[in-house]
Structure formats: structure tokens, C-alpha cells
């Protein structure tokens, strides 16, 4: 806690440009540092440390609203309170499903049982109301355009208008910027262009407000060198410079070089992690020199010769320091943690979740319905629309990890009809959704699950004052 706080102060001291308007404001004066008695009023006595203590207990909206009280409160809230209460607990997940029949992607937001709903829906036109008119007409947001989500910010790419969009669902603010000019290797430029236009290029978002208020977008171009397919271009956009920079990375020798990669990244400590169907984990370092490290995935003893993107398992970060890898194996879910020791990284098996145990697991009291405690099986019995025996059979066979909760030490599990949140430390189990939620395609395995926790930082602080008209 203390470490995190200090970090945020040093950030503000290092000339954090956005708050120049209120510079010269002192750092927190401490209660026991002789501040007592400066004034006769209660306010004079109630030092900043206690003010911060009180402000941090406010609901999010009220806290941000009180930035209007004074310049000093603006500083206290932006620079001390918000970093202190971040990251906010997981609000919900976005679950994307591929609909084979229509060759399209469907998506839905599932809120955590004790959280409040999003104020704006993810895929309604309402969300795009603020777009300038010509863009608004061309841009119908679809789940396939949602590329990534990282610490409360969402990344979209819209092929029709050829623009990236960063959206903060909490503050309802967004920025648009164009992709880099198509470069890459000349021989297949036309092919790449076609691919871009039809599907968009997979891109990932790198944002961690604990470390920096700037974000980066990494665009993984399709083009390949025919001589050395492991060498490929990479474009990185930084909100600090507002420019794309092209890099070339080598992801390694066969079989990594030609194996398809999973279209999902996890950002942790200045690096993006991405799974490869060659059973490797790729680590893209974004700090200083941009390079790629390749790590072998742990052997769960159940690898088949043909691994597809769908049965690779999932990776996720936890509490800003751990990287997990989880995989479904018969009726169990195995979870490894990446440990760094002596310059080498290795996997350590941390948890083994048995699906039959989970069926009889006691649900935490926050779970809907809240009123009484019962186990998961009894809970399912009360969800009338399920045929329990059939459900249990499917549950045991198909339970699989789909994501990790970055704000706590929990894994998100999916089985047909049901999505679960399971804490690895205290074994707390919650049902995020079940068949009664009337979720379309609930029995289809998710293509991608993105986690969402609120981000209270206004765009101004993210390096953007307003939407820039000239991007169109």
C-alpha cells in the first residue's frame, strides 16, 4: 500500500504535465508533523491525511464530483485518492462468442453479482452518440471490433472508417486515432491490405495507471518474411508521442515462427504476453528495447499433436505482479504461475481445481440470490430451467478456465450455461451468470473473455484534451 502510494507521488513530482495548472501544491502534510494548532477551525485541525482517509471511503462518483471543491482537493483526489483506491474491484466481464453460422462475433457484458450495471451499453448506438456525424453514420460498433480491454480502457478498431478508438466506459470519454500507414514487407503488401480491410489487424492495449497515465497500442501486422517467417513487423502507438513507431521482432525458430498465435494479450509490468499454438508463451517487452522472449508452456500431460487456439488454455495477470497460465485437463483445471529466478523463468503448478469438488462447493453469501448460504448444486436446482443431471455431465467434462481477475487472485471459469468466479486464495465461489440470465449462446465456449474494472482517470490525464477533429 505504502509503496504504491509513494510511486504515485513520485510520478507527480516528475513533472506530470497535466496538472501544471495546480503545481506548487504541497505534498501531504502529516498530522503528527506539527500541523496541529495552525488554525482554530476544525478544518485547520483536520489534516490532509485524514481528509484523504475520508475521501477514499466515498462512492466513486461522489469522490470525482468533489474535485470541484477546490484546487487542493482536485490535487488530493487525482494524485492521492484515485491511485490509492486503484485498481477498483472487478466490475464484470465481456464475453465474446464466435457464431460459426454467420461467421460473426457476438458479445455480452456480464456484471459481477455485487456490482452495479454499466451506465452505457457496450454495443448500442447510444455509446457512439458523441461521434461527429459522418463517423457516426459509418461506424456501427460490433463485438468483432472490440479488440482488447486493459485496466478499464477498451480498444476498438473499426475497418470501415479505419480508425482506432480508446473508450473509457466509466467516464464516457474516448479518443480516435488512425492506424499506421501500411508498411511491412513489400511482396505481400496487397495481400496484407486485403486482410486488414476484411478483418482488421489484431492489436492489444497496454495501460496500467499505477505505472503511467499513458497507454500504448501494439499492432501485430500480418506480413511475414518468406525467408524467415519468425521475423515480423510490429507497430506501437504511444499516447505520449501520439505517433506510431515501427519495430521488427524475431519470435524465434521453428516451430514458433509459423504457429498461429492466440488473438488475445495480457499486459503486465511493461510486457505483453501472448500464447502460441506451438505450446509457447511469447513475452513482448515494450520498455526500452522492444524484443520477444519465448517460453515453453508447462506440460500438463494432455497435449495432443494438433493443438488449436481453442484448447490452449488461458493466461492472465493477478494483483499486478503474477502471471498465471491455466488449462483444462480431463475433469480438472490446472493453474501454473510464472516465477522468475536467476534470470530464468519457470512454471510452478499452484492450483488444481477439480470440477466434482466445485459442484459441491459452498457459494459465497454475496452470490445471487443473496439471502442464504447453499452449495453450488443446490443453487443450480433452484434455477428451474436446468436439467441437473445433464448439466452436471457437461460441467464435469467441459469446465475450463477463460480468464483471470487482474484485481484479485481469482480465476474465471466457464462451463456450458454457467460462468464462475473462483478465488484461489480463500476458495470463494460466485456465479457470474447462469441459464436464468438469458444470455444468448450461453452454451457456446467463449472466443475471448475480457475483464473490466472501472478507471476513474479522465482523458485529459491520459494525454488528450479533447477529441481531435483532424484525425478523420
Amino acid at each position: 500500500m505504502d509503496g504504491a502510494r509513494r510511486k504515485s507521488w513520485s510520478r507527480s513530482k516528475n513533472g506530470h504535465e497535466q496538472h501544471r495548472m495546480f503545481e506548487c501544491l504541497p505534498l501531504l502534510r502529516r498530522c503528527n508533523g506539527g500541523y496541529y494548532g495552525c488554525s482554530d477551525s476544525i478544518w485547520g485541525l483536520l489534516c490532509e491525511e485524514l481528509i484523504v482517509e475520508i475521501l477514499c471511503l466515498l462512492p466513486q462518483k461522489a469522490l470525482i464530483k468533489f474535485k470541484c471543491v477546490s484546487k487542493h482537493w482536485y490535487y488530493l483526489i487525482s494524485e492521492v485518492c484515485v491511485p490509492r483506491i486503484s485498481p477498483l474491484p472487478l466490475s464484470g466481464i465481456f464475453r465474446l462468442v464466435r457464431i460459426m453460422k454467420h461467421l460473426s462475433v457476438s458479445g455480452a457484458y456480464l456484471q459481477m453479482p455485487n456490482d452495479t450495471p454499466l451506465e452505457r451499453d457496450l454495443f448500442t448506438d447510444d455509446l457512439w452518440f458523441h461521434l461527429p456525424r459522418p463517423l457516426r453514420n459509418a461506424f456501427t460498433p460490433s463485438p468483432s471490433e472490440l479488440l482488447d480491454m486493459c485496466n478499464g480502457l477498451c480498444l476498438y478498431f473499426s475497418p470501415p472508417i479505419n480508425l482506432y478508438c480508446i473508450w473509457n466506459f466509466t467516464t464516457h470519454q474516448f479518443v480516435l486515432f488512425p492506424p499506421p500507414p501500411p508498411l511491412g514487407f513489400e511482396h505481400n503488401q496487397q495481400e496484407e491490405l486485403n486482410q486488414c480491410l476484411s478483418s482488421g489487424v489484431f492489436s492489444a492495449l497496454a495501460f496500467d495507471p499505477k505505472q503511467s497515465l499513458h497507454f500504448k497500442v501494439v499492432r501485430f501486422d500480418h506480413s511475414r518474411s518468406t525467408i524467415n517467417p519468425g521475423v515480423r513487423p510490429l507497430h506501437i502507438f504511444s499516447s505520449e508521442t501520439r505517433e506510431w513507431v515501427e519495430y521488427t521482432v524475431d519470435i524465434g525458430p521453428p516451430p514458433v515462427d509459423t504457429a498461429p498465435l492466440v488473438d488475445h494479450c495480457v499486459y503486465l509490468n511493461q510486457a505483453l504476453y501472448r500464447l502460441s499454438t506451438s505450446l509457447h508463451l511469447l513475452r513482448y517487452d515494450l520498455e526500452k528495447t522492444v524484443n520477444v522472449t519465448v517460453l515453453k508452456l508447462p506440460d500438463s500431460g494432455s497435449w495432443t499433436s494438433e493443438n488449436t487456439v481453442d484448447d490452449l488454455g488461458c493466461i492472465g495477470s493477478s494483483l499486478g505482479c503474477r502471471l498465471y497460465y491455466a488449462r483444462h485437463c480431463t475433469t480438472r483445471v490446472l493453474i501454473w504461475m510464472l516465477c522468475d529466478c536467476n534470470d530464468a523463468s519457470d512454471w510452478v503448478l499452484m492450483h488444481c481445481i477439480r470440477a466434482p469438488d466445485l459442484i459441491n462447493h459452498e457459494l459465497s453469501i454475496e452470490c445471487t440470490p443473496r439471502a442464504y448460504k447453499k452449495n453450488f448444486r443446490q443453487y443450480l436446482e433452484t434455477c428451474g430451467s436446468l436439467k441437473l443431471s445433464r448439466f452436471v455431465g457437461k460441467f464435469l467434462r467441459q469446465l475450463q478456465p477463460v480468464a483471470f481477475d487482474p484485481t484479485s487472485d481469482a480465476v474465471i471459469l466457464w462451463a456450458p450455461e454457467v460462468t464462475l468466479w473462483y478465488h484461489l486464495g480463500n476458495n470463494k465461489l460466485e456465479v457470474i451468470c447462469n441459464s436464468n440470465t438469458c444470455l444468448p449462446f450461453a452454451n457456446m465456449a467463449p472466443l475471448k473473455v475480457l475483464t473490466y474494472s472501472r478507471c476513474l482517470i479522465p482523458l485529459k490525464d491520459l494525454g488528450w484534451n479533447h477529441y481531435r477533429q483532424d484525425t478523420g
Partner: protein
């Protein structure tokens, strides 16, 4: 009273800023980390401990809280919770601020937490102009600056005046 503390009924005297003296049983005083540290070091319990930053009215409230929490066993958590909410009920802002200051000075974490939460709950739905008055904060924004901050954080004002 619980039997376990019968052989430990030493008393100590606390003196408020306005000179009033309070005789407190030691196990009650131990709710305060500050007093606990003083007793652990060389301070003799025969001395009068002055608390120059806390007035008699606030100190009486603090000691009432400490007594209740020192005497109740941990199994009565529900009872303590209802005592806590009853304890702060109808307390005005001035008294709450004094309580927060006293709890912070005497290092009584439980009391600090509930009093700070009570203040937060009271101000959360109030307009920021009113919060300025409560906390005696001078508005140093120009009208334009205030409008700019409001615009920048417009989402937080939805549903509020």
C-alpha cells in the same frame, strides 16, 4: 464484567485539553495503541497522562467506545456493530471531526474507521458547494476553471445537481 481482567484492574488517569481528568481501567485504555505503547515503555500508570489535543466532551465519547469494545467478547460482533451505529447516530459534523482527530491521535483504528465512514456517508450526496462549507474550504477556482473541471468529469455529475 469478564473475569479474565479482574486481576488486572489497574487504573490510569487521562487529562483532557480543558483540564478534566478521567479515571480509566487499564484494559479499556489498551484499546488505544498510543496508550498501549506508552504503558509498554517506561511510563508509570500512576502518572496523569495529558491529552492536550482532545477536549473533555470528545474524550468522554472515545472512552465510552473503548469501554464497550474492551468489555465485549469477540463473539458479540453483531451487538458491537449495532452499538457502533447507535453511537454515531445524530452526531453533528463538528463532533464527528473531533472524534476522527481523537481516534487518529490515540490510534484507535476501529473508531477512526467508523467515524470516517460516517462522515463519508453524510457528505456523499451533498453538492460540492455544501461540502466546501462543511470542511471550511475556500473556493479558489475561477468560474471558468470550475466549469472546466466539471466538464472534464461530467460523468460523475450525472444524477447529481
Amino acid at each position: 464484567m469478564a473475569s479474565s481482567i479482574e486481576n488486572n484492574n489497574e487504573k490510569l488517569t487521562l487529562k483532557s485539553s480543558d483540564g478534566e481528568e478521567f479515571l480509566v481501567e487499564k484494559h479499556v485504555a489498551l484499546q488505544s495503541t498510543l496508550l498501549q505503547n506508552m504503558l509498554d515503555s517506561d511510563c508509570s500508570s500512576a502518572d496523569v497522562i495529558p491529552l492536550p489535543k482532545i477536549d473533555a466532551r470528545t474524550l468522554a465519547l472515545v472512552l465510552g467506545y473503548c469501554k464497550k469494545h474492551a468489555d465485549a467478547s469477540s463473539s458479540k460482533q453483531g451487538e458491537l456493530n449495532s452499538f457502533d451505529s447507535e453511537f454515531l447516530k445524530d452526531m453533528d459534523m463538528g463532533a464527528l471531526f473531533n472524534l476522527v482527530l481523537a481516534a487518529n491521535f490515540m490510534e484507535i483504528k476501529g473508531l477512526l474507521d467508523i467515524a470516517a465512514q460516517k462522515i463519508a456517508d453524510t457528505i456523499k450526496d451533498k453538492p460540492h458547494q455544501e461540502v466546501r462549507e462543511i470542511f471550511h474550504v475556500e473556493n479558489d477556482y475561477t468560474p471558468e476553471e470550475e466549469a472546466a473541471v466539471r466538464e472534464e468529469n461530467r460523468w460523475a455529475f450525472e444524477g447529481f445537481p
